[in-house]
């Protein structure tokens, strides 16, 4: 019965080794997608290369469908998976700030690691900023953070919110991805002139 972490008491070394192994896969596919390149990433905001949405959406649909099928087969207990508590103000304010930083800096945290690993100096500058922000946020904004924490609610997923079964959302996400794939192809043609 999965997840493994709920049925098997992994030693710390084994657990951290698995984290490193998963990380290798994570970084490998990020780099293969071209996400070690700031210009490839920000292209999504100028619509001439939608790879960011294609990769993210496909990854989400793949994992979502996999979780659904494993749970339906009785091999995975979804209730054992960690789900971040819902916090709407945190998600909205944080998301807006994050999105601006993404376009200004050219990376997000994970992709900047891939950029560093392939020698990009701007990736190293970005990642230094991430570290400084993590430290500075804890030092300067802990009051704001504590206030924000009061808005936290228990975990909430779309099936719980709507009462619709998970399978419907799997189908809906696949349908939206197919539609978006077609739309993105059109957008890339339409905005190909923006490519520097």
């Amino acid at each position: 019965m999965f997840p493994l972490s709920s049925t098997l008491e992994l030693s710390q070394v084994a657990s951290l080794g698995l984290a490193a192994l998963l990380g290798v896969g994570f970084g490998f596919f990020l780099e293969k997608a071209g996400f070690g390149s700031a210009r490839k990433l920000v292209a999504v905001f100028y619509l001439y290369d939608m790879a960011v949405v294609k990769v993210m959406f496909t990854a989400i649909v793949t994992a979502l469908a996999g979780l659904f099928l494993l749970a339906a087969a009785g091999a995975l207990d979804l209730a054992e998976l960690y789900v971040e508590p819902t916090n709407y103000p945190a998600a909205i304010i944080g998301g807006l700030v994050f999105g601006a930083g993404f376009v200004i800096g050219g990376y997000c945290p994970g992709t900047s690691v891939a950029a560093c690993a392939t020698g990009r100096l701007d990736g190293m500058a970005f990642l230094s900023g991430i570290f400084l922000a993590a430290y500075g946020y804890a030092e300067l904004f802990s009051g704001f953070d504590a206030w924000l924490s009061q808005s936290a609610r228990p975990e909430l997923t779309l099936p719980a919110l709507t009462g619709l079964p998970m399978g419907w959302f799997v189908l809906a996400f696949i349908a939206v991805l197919a539609l978006a794939a077609w739309g993105m192809k059109a957008a890339e043609r339409r905005f190909s002139g923006l490519r520097p």
Partner: protein
């Protein structure tokens, strides 16, 4: 790929291999995310590693001071040090995985990625500033594109989907104002 090499350096290898088809790379990434859930019961993440490191440094300088910040305290409470934190090893692994992929594809080069309209120095300042802003955003949202958007969306977490929409709304809102940086 026309990376702008730093003066005095040249991309070590000849023509870099093309990137993978995005749907194929996304499928691979999705399998890694699925494996993380199935093995560890949790998804991926990146910025949490830096919060653990920050809390550890603050605690090493002054434990009283570190505990006076609710954010540091949260990361100290679970007893993790940077070397025993799950996310630290995930990030280290990601570095190795990206290095392997980039090296064998001929994409490793000490260079600066930028649009044609900005200088190397300007680009580095913008990258650093953007890193600070994105870093603060990820701390406010309790996660970034990996730990919040990707991981949460795969399990249909409503807050994660709201975060992802907010990221793209802000991105498209500021992109035109920043076009001189990239186009």
């Amino acid at each position: 790929m026309n990376t702008i090499a730093t003066p005095g350096r040249h991309p070590a290898m000849g023509n870099p291999a093309p990137y993978w088809n995005p749907y194929l790379a996304g499928f691979g990434l999705g399998l890694v995310l699925l494996a993380a859930y199935v093995i560890a019961g949790r998804g991926l993440g990146a910025t949490g590693a830096f919060s653990t490191l920050s809390a550890w440094i603050a605690n090493a300088i002054s434990p009283e001071h570190a505990l006076s910040s609710s954010v540091h305290a949260r990361y100290l409470a679970n007893g993790d040090t940077p070397l025993t934190a799950w996310l630290t090893w995930l990030v280290l692994g990601a570095f190795v995985g990206a290095a392997i992929s980039g090296f064998f594809a001929g994409r490793f080069s000490l260079s600066i990625e930028k649009g044609p309209g900005v200088s190397n120095g300007q680009r580095l300042v913008l990258a650093f500033s953007g890193g600070i802003i994105a870093g603060i955003g990820s701390r406010i949202a309790r996660g970034c594109t990996s730990g919040q958007a990707l991981t949460g969306a795969a399990i249909l977490n409503v807050g994660s989907l709201v975060f992802m929409i907010a990221v793209f709304v802000a991105g498209y809102a500021v992109a035109w104002a920043l076009r001189k940086e990239w186009l």
